[in-house]
């Protein structure tokens, strides 16, 4: 039997603040090796297939960018929410609604053509995501309804709504009954960055720009200060004259808009039409990205690339080794666990204490607590 004891540091540790994602990544690799071992696969071989092969050629880097773009866009928005201590976990739904709103033009007005189409689609996508995110924000501010549960429930509703759209009113009449909309026209398709080298599109640029802008917002602007104050001590925020309700809307609308932009970018860029399922859980994986990036937009760029790689690696081991591509989800989950655990080291030192002689607790009994290890 042993016990962990936390000893508060006088100041947050700058060292662990930097190291924690790397320690977490290393621990994930170790745990992953054990997992592959249990599955009867040589871990070294598996890791080569998982982490190296998917990014060994230029076109594969483009695939990585395609996967990373929505993750980064969504996670950057979520980081603002989480910094404000507002728990939007419904980004998946906002992603879907962004995709649906943005697709209004190419699906319902396919004859509408010209350079305005794409900007309008992107704008509508952001509006759609923000509007869907406004629902939990409204319920939280008006009725103090828990936003975690409402935003999550709305994900299921959004998925079903999309399913209905592509099987019902928006189904391509010439699509042989397949549940999908018509293919978007060229004017409604997000251009590729370097068509000769690979498929990566402008969505990745949007992600980088959003990350830099939010980084400036959070670090240099009064609004970012407001987010951080209200998130870390709401009462001090109220004392400062910052309104919590306004902040709930700001955080939800911003993160909803970015998730919506990610949604329409994905549909217009990578997929080219609406389908019943347009996301392999980007909205949830982005939560991991946000934490792995330490809620820092620049860190999120790096974290987004790492998590994108777990998707590609999952596909790779599935085809090469016949392991379920769910292995990607497992890696992602473990990564988040280890990141959260390592973050403890930023504020605390951890002492591991053996409980050898504490069976009898009472007056006058000695409590021998041999110190085994102390992580400083």
């Amino acid at each position: 039997m042993m016990r962990l004891e936390l000893v508060k540091r006088p100041q947050r540790s700058a060292l662990f603040s930097m190291l924690s994602p790397f320690i977490a990544f290393a621990l994930t690799i170790i745990a992953g090796a054990i997992m592959f071992g249990l599955l009867g696969v040589n871990p070294l071989n598996a890791f080569r297939i998982y982490f190296i092969e998917p990014v060994s050629q230029v076109w594969q880097l483009h695939e990585l960018a395609i996967k990373a773009a929505p993750l980064i866009l969504i996670a950057v928005g979520l980081s603002v929410c989480y910094k404000a201590n507002i728990w939007n976990i419904g980004a998946e739904g906002q992603f879907i609604f962004g995709a649906i709103f943005g697709s209004i033009i190419p699906v319902l007005f396919p004859q509408f053509d010209g350079p305005l189409v794409l900007p309008l689609m992107l704008l509508l996508g952001m509006v759609g995501g923000a509007a869907y995110a406004a629902i939990p924000a409204l319920l939280k501010t008006r009725f103090s309804t828990n936003e975690i549960l409402t935003s999550l429930m709305l994900v299921y509703v959004a998925q079903l709504f999309l399913d209905w759209l592509v099987r019902g009113p928006w189904r391509d009449p010439q699509g042989h009954g397949f549940p999908q909309t018509i293919q978007f026209s060229d004017a409604a398709t997000l251009p590729q960055l370097m068509p000769d080298a690979g498929r990566a599109n402008w969505g990745f640029v949007f992600a980088l720009v959003a990350a830099v802008l939010v980084w400036i917002l959070m670090g240099r602007m009064l609004k970012g200060f407001e987010v951080r104050v209200l998130g870390s001590s709401p009462r001090a925020g109220r004392f400062a004259g910052f309104g919590l309700n306004r902040m709930v809307f700001f955080a939800f609308l911003l993160s909803g808009a970015l998730a919506g932009l990610a949604g329409i970018s994905e549909v217009s860029g990578a997929i080219g039409q609406l389908q019943p399922v347009i996301s392999p859980g980007y909205g949830f994986t982005a939560i991991i990205v946000a934490f792995l990036g330490r809620l820092n937009p620049l860190g999120i760029i790096a974290a987004g690339l790492v998590l994108a790689l777990t998707y590609l690696g999952g596909e790779a081991v599935q085809s090469a080794l016949g392991i379920s591509d769910k292995v990607a989800r497992v890696f992602q989950g473990m990564l988040l666990f280890f990141v959260l655990g390592c973050d403890t080291l930023i504020h605390y030192r951890i002492r591991v204490i053996g409980l050898a002689l504490t069976k009898k607790e009472g007056a006058g009994k000695l409590e021998a607590a041999p110190k085994l290890k102390e992580a400083r």
Binding site: P10, M221, L222, R228, S232, A236, R238, G241, A363, L366
Partner: protein, 525 residues
């Protein structure tokens, strides 16, 4: 100084402590403390805020583990590993910040600290009987959240007595009582002493220590200063032992012609419904604070002071815009930012988490209350914060207020209570506000910083501002106020000019006596 360890009181010591030490990180909170408590004595543990009293007591009660030192109980060496172990030995504790559960009844609260399996109904009966026998009437079925602070303390005391302890530790028990309630408590303590029980009485109030304590142990900066008989000391000599040097007395020049000065803060018939099930409603409060004066608001904690502060500061707005007026303008409908822009400044009771964001730097905490009033100086085009200007201003305040710190721009939580409070008060003084409202200006602050803050508030008023101070510390209010009003159960008495005010009169009002104070009041309106 009475620096020698006096001989044993009479007979054996119940508790002996030798060389007890507790280290938190780099801070030695208790450094080789010795302490002897005889049977049947009331022993005072004296010291300023931050002297290490609470840490020492937590080690005696088993909630903290000492790094070094020995404890003897009836001459036998013991290790007190948990509060349960302390209780088994016969040590009971009445906490300063009550360890009660608001959502549970008094009887359930008591049951939780008794280890026997007796049913709650029988505990309730026992508690009721005991409470009446000690003159501390208590309804065991009432929900703690609905009770006043004084009633809560009764639960703590009854809970402690039901464990039939030999040593009772009381941590600053009178800080939440009216003078009259404190007298009642002293009677109870004397009766317990007569029954042969020992009491460790923690306080920084010298008069009451002189009055009821047989011996005293004095701590300063975590170190033992010495032991003495408080009855043979003067309040001044005890204060010297506690503080180490003379604390400069606060100078308050008398004000004249205040009746004609303009009221800068006017509160007219302010009422507020309780916001939460456990909060106090405000009832028709009226008060004027004029340029040049300091008005003090006395009252036992939890009588609506927090609600009053929120209403005046604008953290909570009023329906009636005229119920709060600042510099002649209706401010009831304004936010705290709007009221600041009219020239008002506010210092709340809680430093960490209300007046300051604990995990943010001091410079960021400057921006907290001044991002709007000093918008041009601190915030540039497009909402970009001018970091250099904010930093320079925060350094200026740090220098003026003599804030001691370990880094150039540390996090607020890294400062001691006194230094952080100096920064928070300095942050507002730096604006030269015409109205200043302060809730508990020196709560938990060391004597040097407290004197500094009090003097600064008086000087602000004498330079033509209106200063309103809410405090539970009567000594403080008598030191700095030109008139004192009393808040009780959400109602505010008329201010009493300081020349006419006495502890007794104010104490009666704090206890809720009918405001028969009309003859003492100055006609301010």
């Amino acid at each position: 100084m009475g620096g020698t360890v006096s001989a044993d009181h009479d007979g054996t010591n119940l508790l002996e402590v030798r060389g007890l030490t507790k280290i938190f990180g780099t801070l030695t909170a208790c450094d080789h403390i010795d302490l002897n408590i005889a049977k049947g004595e009331i022993h005072a543990l004296l010291g300023e805020n931050g002297a290490g009293k609470s840490t020492l007591v937590k080690m005696l009660f088993g909630s903290l583990e000492p790094n070094a030192g020995e404890i003897f109980w009836n001459g036998q060496p013991v290790r007190i590993t948990s509060p349960g172990a302390a209780k088994k030995l016969g040590i009971g504790m009445v906490f300063q910040h009550f360890s009660l559960f608001e959502a549970l009844t008094a009887a359930e609260n008591i049951a939780l600290s008794l280890d026997d399996g007796s049913p709650i109904s029988s505990i309730a009966a026992k508690a009721r009987a005991l409470s009446y026998s000690y003159g501390l009437p208590l309804d065991p079925e009432s929900l703690v959240g609905d009770l006043s602070v004084g009633e809560r303390q009764r639960i703590e005391i009854i809970r402690c007595l039901l464990q039939t302890p030999q040593l009772i530790i009381l941590d600053e028990p009178t800080s939440v009582l009216t003078p009259q309630e404190a007298d009642k408590l002293f009677e109870t303590l004397e009766r317990l002493r007569a029954e042969g029980k020992s009491i460790l009485y923690i306080s920084h109030r010298l008069e009451e220590v002189k009055r009821i304590c047989d011996r005293a142990t004095v701590l300063r900066h975590g170190k033992l200063v010495g032991h003495c008989n408080p009855r043979e000391e003067t309040a001044a000599s005890l204060a010297r032992m506690m503080v180490g040097n003379e604390v400069q007395a606060v100078v308050r020049a008398p004000v004249e012609g205040i009746e004609t000065a303009a009221p800068l803060l006017e509160i007219r018939g302010l009422s507020r419904k309780p916001a939460t099930p456990f909060s106090i409603p405000l009832k028709n409060i009226s008060l004027n604070v004029r340029a040049g004066e300091v008005i003090g608001i006395a009252g036992v904690a939890g009588n609506g002071q927090g609600e009053f502060f929120e209403s005046v500061s604008g953290e909570v707005q009023q329906q009636d815009a005229a119920s709060v007026r600042i510099r002649g303008k209706d401010a009831g409908g304004l936010t705290i930012t709007g009221r600041r822009l009219l020239g008002a400044a506010f210092v709340p009771e809680e430093r960490l988490g209300h007046g300051a964001a604990p995990r943010m730097k001091l410079s960021e905490n400057l921006l907290l209350s001044r991002h709007a009033t000093d918008g041009k100086a601190f915030v540039g085009a497009g909402g970009m914060v001018k970091g250099a200007a904010v930093y320079a201003a925060s350094q200026r305040i740090i220098e003026v207020m003599d804030v001691r710190k370990s880094a150039p721009d540390p996090e607020a939580a890294a400062l001691s209570g006194g230094n952080l409070q100096k920064f928070i008060v300095g942050r507002e003084l730096d604006r030269r506000p015409s109205v200043m409202v302060v809730n508990q200006p020196t709560w938990g602050v060391d004597a040097g910083a407290a004197a500094h803050i009090r003097q600064a508030l008086i000087e602000l008023s004498r330079s033509g501002s209106a200063v309103l101070v809410i405090s539970q510390d009567l000594d403080e209010l008598f030191e700095i106020s030109d008139a004192i009003a009393v808040m009780h159960n959400g109602e505010l008495s008329k201010p009493m000019p300081i020349a006419e005010a006495t502890f007794e009169k104010v104490g009666l009002l704090m206890g809720g006596a009918e405001p028969g104070h009309a003859e003492h009041t100055m006609e301010t309106a």
